[in-house]
């Protein structure tokens, strides 16, 4: 047990990797065996991640990163096998193991050809995703970040819709273009910090301690390189154009993982690398302005485009642009509320949008169309489906008692503390969000069920219900009792804010206590950046 406890992160990585091996020996004809095996492996991975829930809060409470594993990897360039998690990565990992399992479970009946490769790709994808969230070494992080592109390319390109080839290569090229620029940024940081023995290091914790010595100009260039890499992944406006294509063409499980986990890598990258490694660039008022304005544009633009969509999947894809806009807005509010809200909202988005893609996938398996006008009145023939859809839809809108509300409210709180203008614009996005989701629900579920093809549809079976139930339960948990999540996030968020501005929590309390006065909050931000400047 001690071994398991000390190496839990590696074990989570190794389970899917080793799980790929037997797949090579199962005959491709024996589809049922392949399906069982793929599901079992990812379920095991999920089970193995569960102990983290119980161990996490009691584990080494004074350290920022827990469950650390540190081994030399390429000593001559200072790259290490360095794993460790804080509250943010902990939540991301749980999201990944849950969604990873649910995604393969949902594809039991959806995938009929090349089943073996399909499950192998999902297992490889799981390794890459978990690795990204665990790495504390920037080189290792980059390797995982790239590894994950290949399986996703194949998932879209082989099992996707009619324009799959275009969508798959577009996804790959966009992400790669961003990540190679990020690599240059990483190398710049790497070369700008020399260890006492004359070498260099990719160790994130080590690099974070020496951010003061980096000049602002360099930080801004590196920030730009990182930001392009992460913004493409998020995706932020105007780098979002790959997203609708990839989502529409991907098979259901691919969309679930893409929306649920892959997009979070972008926001996670901002939280884990951009902000702590480049505090002066991240607090630079101009940089903040650019990032926030792009987020606000994404919120409004994504929502408006969603209103116009005729295809359910495309609608949800654009709604992701809007929702992720909230997440980046929260990050660049640069205060504890904004950051906490952002992480919670990322989890929420994983839950709600993951579930929405499952719901679209369920109807697509039955009707082989996603056109909204082809559907209608489905609540009459598929009551269970309609009920689950309702809950998920409401959680996506941000109805109180469900998870979306908690995230959006906290982000708005954080944005308001920074500038009330930002919050005012973002609120419009929430209203629009309610409009497009409710309208979608109304058009597909309510009204008479006139189309004869729809009248004969079967309601969900047990397996299908089980893919949605965990997500619905999680949505209620966050909505009703979010305190454990905030507790987990408290420490990492404090650490980020202190890294950005060591005086944040020591600053005159008057400014913090008066978030209701619009000008006061802005003055607070200005004071923040000034204090950051003085610290240089």
């Amino acid at each position: 047990m001690a071994f398991f406890h000390d190496h839990i992160l590696s074990i989570l990585l190794v389970i899917p990797l080793v799980g790929m091996v037997p797949l090579f020996f199962i005959s491709g004809e024996n589809k049922q065996a392949v399906r069982w095996w793929g599901n079992i492996v990812l379920f095991l991975d999920f089970l193995a991640s569960l102990p983290l829930v119980f161990w996490f809060s009691s584990e080494s409470p004074n350290q920022q990163f827990k469950f650390i594993e540190l081994h030399q990897w390429i000593p001559s360039i200072g790259a290490q096998y360095h794993l460790g998690i804080d509250g943010i990565s902990f939540l991301m990992i749980m999201l990944t193991t849950v969604l990873g399992f649910i995604a393969v479970l949902s594809s039991w009946n959806a995938i009929h050809d090349r089943v073996k490769e399909y499950y192998a790709m999902f297992l490889l994808l799981q390794v890459g995703m978990l690795g990204v969230f665990m790495s504390l070494d920037v080189f290792l992080f980059y390797v995982f970040w790239e590894v994950m592109l290949v399986p996703m390319y194949f998932i879209i390109g082989v099992w996707g819709g009619p324009r799959k080839l275009y969508a798959a290569i577009k996804f790959f090229l966009y992400t790669l273009a961003g990540s190679v620029l990020m690599l240059l940024g990483i190398l710049t940081l790497y070369l700008n910090y020399t260890l006492p023995n004359g070498g260099h290091t990719f160790d994130l914790i080590e690099l974070m301690k020496h951010t003061d010595s980096w000049p602002l100009e360099m930080q801004i260039w590196v920030f730009a390189a990182f930001a392009i890499g992460f913004a493409i992944k998020v995706p932020m406006f105007p780098f979002h154009t790959w997203l609708p294509d990839a989502h529409v063409e991907a098979p259901t499980a691919g969309s679930v993982i893409l929306a649920g986990v892959l997009l979070k890598m972008g926001t996670y990258g901002f939280l884990r690398f951009s902000l702590p490694l480049l505090p002066q660039a991240s607090t630079n008022p101009k940089v903040v302005k650019v990032m926030v304005y792009l987020s606000l544009i994404a919120i409004i633009y994504g929502a408006l485009v969603s209103l116009m969509q005729k295809d359910m999947k495309k609608l949800i894809a654009y709604s992701s642009v809007s929702h992720l806009g909230f997440c980046t807005l929260g990050i660049f509010a640069l205060n504890p509320h904004g950051l906490q809200g952002s992480v919670i909202q990322q989890i929420n988005h994983g839950i709600s949008t993951g579930a929405l893609f499952l719901i679209v996938g369920l109807i697509y398996e039955r009707r082989h169309t996603r056109e909204i006008k082809e559907l209608g009145g489905l609540s009459n023939v598929m009551p269970v489906y309609a009920a689950l859809f309702m809950i998920v839809m409401l959680s996506s809108i941000g109805l109180p008692l469900l998870n979306g509300f908690i995230g959006e409210f906290t982000i708005l709180q954080g944005a308001y503390e920074a500038s009330w203008h930002w919050a005012a614009v973002a609120v419009v996005g929430i209203v629009l969000g309610a409009a497009y989701m409710l309208w979608l629900y109304q058009r597909t579920m309510f009204g008479p069920c006139e189309n004869p093809k729809n009248q004969i549809l079967k309601d969900l079976n047990f397996r299908e219900v089980m893919t949605l139930v965990p997500l619905v339960l999680w949505a209620f948990w966050i909505g009703l009792y979010p305190k454990p999540f905030f507790n987990v996030l408290d420490k990492p968020v404090t650490a980020i804010v202190e890294q950005l501005n060591p005086n944040f929590f020591k600053a005159p309390q008057t400014k913090k206590e008066a978030p209701g006065i619009p000008g006061g909050a802005q003055a607070g931000l200005r004071a923040t950046s000034k204090a950051g400047g003085a610290g240089r």
């Binding site: 360039i77 390109g157 690599l183």
Partner: protein, 494 residues
């Protein structure tokens, strides 16, 4: 031992070359004794010879670089047997051995399974080994010609094939022209230096005023000749034609081993002889590198013939290698180390990819069109996955060896503040992914065009195994390769 000019140690130092020459001649004799069905024994003999040479090099590596003096300069200061030479020789010998393994089945199918082929491969290897160890213009030039002549003959080896003949003639004419240029530059350098030794030339060049026209002309003609040999733009035109027409096993060979040798040749001349003019050749090389990356990457996108495709992809890789040289010209060993790592990595991944291409040549199927790869995943999943790994490596995606190669190039560029070159380099890496994935799309997402089995054999499987293991091993644990490369560049930056 009597002779005052050369000592017995000199002959010790060229033992691997002597061995290979003897084995090459032995193959020519041995060939007559073999029945047509036993011709594969030629390959076995050649492999034994290469094995001995490799063993010898290994012994040298341990003896000289663990205990003894770091380098041995012999033959009256014309031949440097240093760590750089040994590392380059090892790559060349390994690449030659892999090319031999790839050839056996292919030659049977082409009905060209004769001893000269293997003998020429060995003689080419000997030429290359002198190219990487010569520090004298005459030694370098003769070595280059030995390699080049063998290459021309091997390119036209399929005598009955029109394309092969055409390629050989083109290759020969352009190659001869470039050799002329090179020789002209060398003669000017001799005029400046009064000696053919690179070290003396460097000293004389240092004394000359900057912007001296004679030095410039010597530099430019010499560089033009060398760009020719490494297939850098605008001297690249022979590459796609020669690659397309040559027997595929020879395409694999000339895309790797002579590339390594030519870069070593370039490095010897540029970093030893022309070091005082490094600012000048750096400026020229920056322009050439940009042009090479641009043309190689963009032209590769539209190729439908797989051998031409690899011709342009090789040009693109040459562009990256030149970037490493640019960084190294700033006096940082990291750039040169990057070049050595890249060459090692490139040798394995490119030979691996070519191994799969060679298997496409079966009875009645030429198999060098992109469409011939159609549905490879459903026909031969194992080979499709191998090809995928090699292509990912060529595109520079971790955790494959290709990423490590590109990583060090970019690192050295940023270290020497060539930011715009680094940005350009990574931008073209994205383009490269696109065209390499054209093959992936055909292999994995298209229907098979025909079903006949691939031409494999024991040699092919061994070659694939070696290249695969090296591609993955270097990608996942590059430490040994990095250490070797650091040793290799020590003679230049000590």
């Amino acid at each position: 031992m009597g002779n005052a000019l050369f000592s017995s140690l000199d002959y010790q130092a060229i033992k691997p070359e002597i061995l290979l020459t003897m084995f090459g001649m032995a193959v020519l004799l041995f060939d007559f004794l073999l029945d047509k069905s036993d011709k594969f024994l030629n390959a076995v003999l050649v492999l034994i010879g290469l094995g001995f040479a490799l063993l010898q090099l290994g012994i040298f590596w341990f003896r000289y670089f663990r205990f003894g003096p770091p380098a041995y300069v012999g033959f009256d200061g014309t031949y440097a047997f240093d760590s750089f030479a040994v590392v380059a020789m090892v790559i060349i010998v390994l690449a030659t051995a892999l090319a031999v393994l790839l050839s056996v089945k292919y030659l049977e199918i082409e009905d060209a399974n004769v001893g000269e082929y293997y003998a020429l491969l060995l003689f080419a290897a000997v030429g290359m080994m002198f190219m990487v160890s010569g520090v004298d213009l005459i030694v370098l030039f003769i070595a280059l010609e030995v390699m080049a002549l063998c290459e021309y003959v091997l390119t036209g080896f399929l005598r009955g094939n029109r394309r092969s003949n055409e390629a050989a003639v083109k290759f020969f004419l352009l190659g001869a022209f470039s050799s002329g240029l090179l020789l002209y530059g060398m003669s000017l350098l001799y005029g400046i230096g009064g000696s053919t030794k690179l070290a003396v030339i460097a000293e004389r060049l240092r004394d000359r005023p900057s912007g001296d026209p004679l030095s410039w002309i010597a530099l430019i003609t010499l560089l033009a000749g060398m760009y020719f040999k490494i297939a850098a733009v605008p001297f690249h035109q022979w590459t796609p034609d020669a690659y397309e027409g040559a027997p595929t096993s020879i395409t694999a060979f000339i895309s790797v081993a002579p590339k390594v040798a030519s870069f070593a040749f370039f490095i010897r001349i540029a970093f030893m002889g022309l070091w005082p003019l490094r600012m000048e050749w750096q400026a020229l090389t920056i322009g050439v590198a940009i042009a090479t990356m641009t043309l190689g990457n963009l032209a590769a996108i539209t190729q439908d013939n797989i051998k031409r495709f690899f011709g342009y992809s090789t040009i693109a890789h040459v562009g990256y290698l030149l970037l490493g040289l640019v960084a190294a010209a700033d006096g940082e060993g990291d750039g040169l180390r990057a070049v050595v790592i890249y060459l090692i990595v490139y040798a394995f991944m490119n030979l691996g990819a070519f191994a799969v291409v060679i298997m496409m040549r079966r009875k009645d199927i030429i198999g060098d069109e992109l469409d011939d790869f159609g549905g490879l995943m459903s026909r031969a999943p194992g080979y499709a996955i191998l090809m995928l790994i090699f292509l990912l490596s060529l595109a520079g995606i971790p955790p494959t060896a290709g990423f490590i190669g590109k990583y060090f190039i970019f690192l050295s560029l940023i270290e020497t503040s060539h930011y715009y070159l680094a940005v350009l380099g990574v931008a073209y890496a994205v383009v490269a992914l696109y065209y390499y994935f054209r093959i992936v799309v055909v292999m994995f997402m298209k229907k098979p065009s025909e079903e006949s089995p691939l031409a494999t054999g024991l040699g092919m499987r061994v070659a694939l195994g070696v290249t695969l293991v090296m591609t993955l091993f270097i990608g996942i644990y590059p430490q040994p390769v990095i250490s070797i490369a650091r040793e290799a560049v020590r003679p230049f930056f000590s």
